[in-house]
């Protein structure tokens, strides 16, 4: 018998439009239902049909949060899939190929080629489209999975196409399983039993959409763009039941200003976009800051600049989100690192937008937006709706004669707002500088008071902005890894590997890009012999934030000590940048750490 596996890796590849995505989803869902943790990773191009596409699913008995470059089973719909992906196969790995394609493995390759008459079987069961399902049957055998959950899922998925289609799918599955049973002597990697806890599997965009709905968002305006469109699509599907409205706008400027209008009128409103849309929204973002209007902006980062690489992963909109609109305005920007966090962070974003009366960014990245992954049960009781300060009748009645001071200068910078429809709450909301009543004012003193008020709002804000894993308090670290967004998975895996290799390795994940968790990170960096900032962009955008904010902390301390910093942790900071369109693999991070440490030893 084969040894029990805790983590296996499966991939299907072929041309776009050949059902790659749905087959992967089926496999992931079944594994999820069996209680395993899954992490999907899809490679695709900016075209509709044709061009190589593949979908990798890692399945584990414990949480999986990154892709990797080892592979147990590769389902190849065409030869190109083999050519492009064979190098990932572990020795003894399987290639499941349609016999019809005359598949070839490179000379001397240590994987096993299993040619399955997928086309023939599909023809025999009477539906050429079930080819991939045959491969799923083979897959089930290879990993020692039961067939029933596949059957159930196929029935559910294709139920609306009629019984015949369901039967064809089931037959294809069974035939595949049987074929494998016959041709492969024993199950090579049987998955160890799962923890059996019920789980969800979703992509980050779905988590955002669900979070928005749960948070009370009922107006969503957007313009389609990869990789954000799923948010709009999901809400269009579910809003009707809850009285919400999705407006597919004529462009992103309309999308953000529609959301701002809805926010000004008191609804919870959001938009979702990617880099090009974010750039177009810059002017209106300033309006929401100036007029203090709540709105949630989800930015699903992809390869930039310009149209860039629309279907490729990147994390390069940080500077644009934090500094892209002209003039001075404070920022709140969350950066969830998993679908699970994306759900809760979206809820938080709506609460922060209402509380601080300003735009709040949820910074996603393509991997996080689109990769299907396991999410542990979501807890509705943790979803609270905090509307922030809204003037009540009494307050408004009191202002009857004088008018309502919508922009009252307060200590916190936050002023209670009135909503259209509330008697005596009328005011002017404007992007022009204004006085407490909202009236346009060019008075220099008023200007300073208003600017300070707005900046003050966010100054005191403390969020749980950094997540740390690694050796406990005070212990010195050989290396501190810092990242944000979906690289949490690969960094965590790298940290483990480095720790296994004997290093004291910490991982600080920045979950709030603004206001930046500077003190927390500074404290960790000081403990570390070196810090490695790991991010998917070419100019070190996170590193820039660290230089600014951790720098401020360090310099303030130095100033307090009379100007002589003893040892600046920023001097010991290096960057690992990846911007080829792909997320990090754990081993890339490990290598970089080894390389830097080696250099350090050499130098020291």
């Amino acid at each position: 018998m084969s040894p029990l596996q805790n983590l296996i890796s499966w991939k299907i590849g072929g041309e776009q439009g050949q059902g790659i995505e749905s087959s992967g989803d089926l496999f992931a869902t079944v594994c999820n239902r069996l209680g395993y943790y899954v992490y999907g990773y899809r490679e695709f191009s900016s075209r509709i049909k044709g061009g190589h596409s593949n979908y990798k699913i890692r399945v584990g008995t414990e949480p999986v949060a990154s892709t990797s470059d080892d592979l147990h089973v590769l389902v190849a719909i065409d030869q190109e899939t083999i050519d492009r992906n064979h190098h990932e196969l572990v020795p003894g790995g399987f290639v499941i190929a349609d016999s019809a394609i005359g598949a070839k493995l490179p000379e001397g390759h240590r994987a096993r080629l299993l040619e399955v008459p997928m086309t023939d079987i599909a023809a025999e069961v009477g539906n050429t489209r079930v080819k991939n399902v045959v491969a799923l049957g083979v897959t089930a055998y290879l990993f020692g999975l039961p067939v029933e959950p596949f059957v159930d899922l196929l029935a559910k998925t294709y139920g609306r196409h009629g019984e015949e289609v369901v039967r064809q799918n089931e037959a294809a599955l069974q035939r595949g399983y049987a074929y494998a049973l016959e041709h492969v002597l024993e199950t090579p990697w049987k998955l160890a039993p799962s923890d059996g806890k019920p789980k969800l599997v979703m992509m980050g965009n779905e988590a955002v959409a669900l979070g928005a709905l749960a948070a009370g968002c009922r107006v969503m305006s957007a313009y389609p763009i990869t990789p954000a469109s799923e948010i709009m699509e999901w809400l269009q599907r579910h809003f009707p039941r809850f009285g919400g409205v999705v407006l597919q706008c004529e462009d992103e400027i309309s999308a953000i200003t529609t959301a701002i209008g809805a926010g000004a009128a008191g609804a919870r409103a959001m938009t979702a976009t990617a880099g090009p849309g974010l750039s177009l929204m810059q002017e209106a973002i300033g309006l929401a800051h100036a007029a203090e209007i709540p709105v949630v902006i989800v930015d699903c980062q992809r390869g930039g600049p310009s149209t860039g690489m629309p279907t490729k992963h990147e994390q390069s909109d940080v500077m644009a989100a934090l500094f892209g609109t002209h003039g001075d305005s404070p920022r709140i920007a969350l950066a969830p690192s998993s679908a699970q966090e994306a759900f809760y962070d979206t809820v938080l974003a709506f609460n922060l937008a209402d509380r601080y009366q300003c735009p709040v960014f949820v910074m996603m990245d393509l991997s996080l937006s689109l990769n299907k992954q396991t999410v542990e049960e979501l807890d509705l009781s943790k979803v609270t709706i905090d509307r922030g300060l809204i003037a009540d009748e009494e307050m408004l009645a009191a202002s009857k004669d004088e008018g309502f001071r919508r922009y009252k200068v307060t200590e916190s910078g936050i002023s209670p707002r009135s909503l259209p429809g509330q008697p005596y709450g009328q005011f002017l909301a404007t992007g022009v500088e204004h006085n407490e009543f909202g009236k346009v004012s060019e008075d220099p003193k008023n200007r300073v008071a208003m600017m300070d008020k707005r900046l003050r709002k966010v100054k005191g804000l403390k969020l749980d902005g950094l997540r740390y894993q690694g050796p406990a308090e005070l212990q010195e670290l050989d290396v501190l890894l810092v990242g944000f967004g979906s690289s949490a998975g690969p960094i965590a895996a790298a940290r483990k590997a480095l720790e296994e290799a004997g290093l004291a390795c910490g991982h600080a994940h920045v979950r709030v890009l603004a206001p930046f968790p500077a003190e927390e990170l500074a404290a960790l960096m000081k403990r570390a012999r070196m810090t490695l900032v790991v991010e998917n962009n070419a100019t070190g955008q996170l590193a820039k934030l660290i230089k600014l904010h951790v720098g401020d902390v360090v310099r303030a301390e130095a100033a307090a000590l009379g100007g002589k910093p003893l040892s600046d942790p920023l001097v010991r900071m290096e960057s690992l940048l990846k911007y080829d369109g792909r997320p990090f693999l754990p081993r890339e991070i490990v290598s970089k750490v080894q390389e830097v440490m080696f250099h350090a030893t050499q130098a020291g």
Binding site: L200, V201, E206, R241, G243, T257, G263, L378, P420, G421
Partner: protein, 288 residues
């Protein structure tokens, strides 16, 4: 306590030049709201940037003064969030027909229940008198020393071509007619365009009060004119080179809000947004 006309006014001193056409538009809008007895706090006015965009400063309603050209999408957002408000969008010809052209025509075809008043002076007032999209051919100013060589935008024809359900044109000198048109626009359950000819006395020496007094034709008084006949409307505005006033076209078609699946009569702002455990579980189930 019955509402007074003064309830619609703020005590702010106007920033407009003496004689500016926008005064008439302001008066008509205030009067229309008063005549319709809409409570000031139930009105949201969204204005763009320009001299015209300052109109909201002088009306005691909820006012949103947005960035240049974006009054309409913002107004749409307000309407979606709170259906029970009377939503007025307002701005200039530059705001609405230059930078705002896309939003204008898309809002027309969307048909949300918004009344859009464009103070059309054929010039960019606030930036000191450049050519605007409605400027006549050959028009020039100190700030735009070269003569205009671009065909003027015809807002009425464009609105009709985009499927508008309410198109009217008023003249700021005729506050009475303009008031009535705005009233009808507000009562119309859908998007109402009211192009208000509103002379700029400082920068436009061509399209003056006198010019309009001589050239405007009042369709409201034209025997046989039927504002429910779209092709007649198109023919008429072309024939008169858009120099008409009155109700040009109107048709009763469902508004955007009336057609959104599952949309409720109760405004979104006043709903209870919390999900029940059951609802949440049903949503979550699709991810199992």
């Amino acid at each position: 306590m019955p509402l007074k006309l003064a309830d619609y006014k703020t005590n702010e001193k106007s920033w407009w030049c003496p004689g500016c056409g926008d005064f008439g538009v302001l008066a008509a809008l205030q009067r229309a709201l008063f005549n319709l007895e809409i409570k000031p706090h139930d009105v949201a006015i969204v204005a763009g940037i320009g001299c015209s965009g300052k109109i909201g400063n002088y009306i005691n309603c909820y006012n949103l003064h947005v960035v240049h050209g974006r009054a309409l999408p913002t107004a749409t957002g307000i309407k979606l969030a709170n259906r029970s408000l009377t939503v007025i969008a307002a701005g200039g010809d530059g705001d609405g027909y230059a930078i705002g052209m896309g939003h204008f025509l898309h809002t027309v075809r969307r048909n949300p229940d918004i009344t859009y008043i464009v103070m059309d002076n054929h010039v960019y007032g606030l930036t000191k008198g450049q050519i605007s999209p409605t400027s006549d051919l050959g028009f020039s100013t100190k700030a735009s020393p070269q003569k205009n060589i671009e065909r003027p935008v015809k807002p009425l024809q464009l609105a009709l071509a985009a499927g508008a359900t309410f198109v009217a044109q008023g003249f700021s000198s005729d506050v009475k007619q303009l008031t009535r048109l705005i009233e009808e626009g507000i009562k119309h359950k859908g998007f109402a365009l009211i192009n208000a000819i509103s002379p700029c006395v400082t920068f436009n020496r061509v399209n003056t009060y006198d010019f309009y007094r001589e050239n405007l034709v009042n369709l409201d008084e034209m025997p046989g004119y039927d504002p429910t006949d779209r092709s007649l409307a198109i023919r008429t505005v072309i024939e008169h080179n858009e120099l008409v006033t009155g109700l040009i076209f109107k048709s009763d078609e469902p508004s955007f809000e009336a057609q959104v699946p599952g949309f409720r009569e109760e405004p979104i702002v006043s709903g209870d947004w919390r999900l029940s455990e059951e609802e949440f579980e049903e949503l979550v189930a699709q991810f199992r």
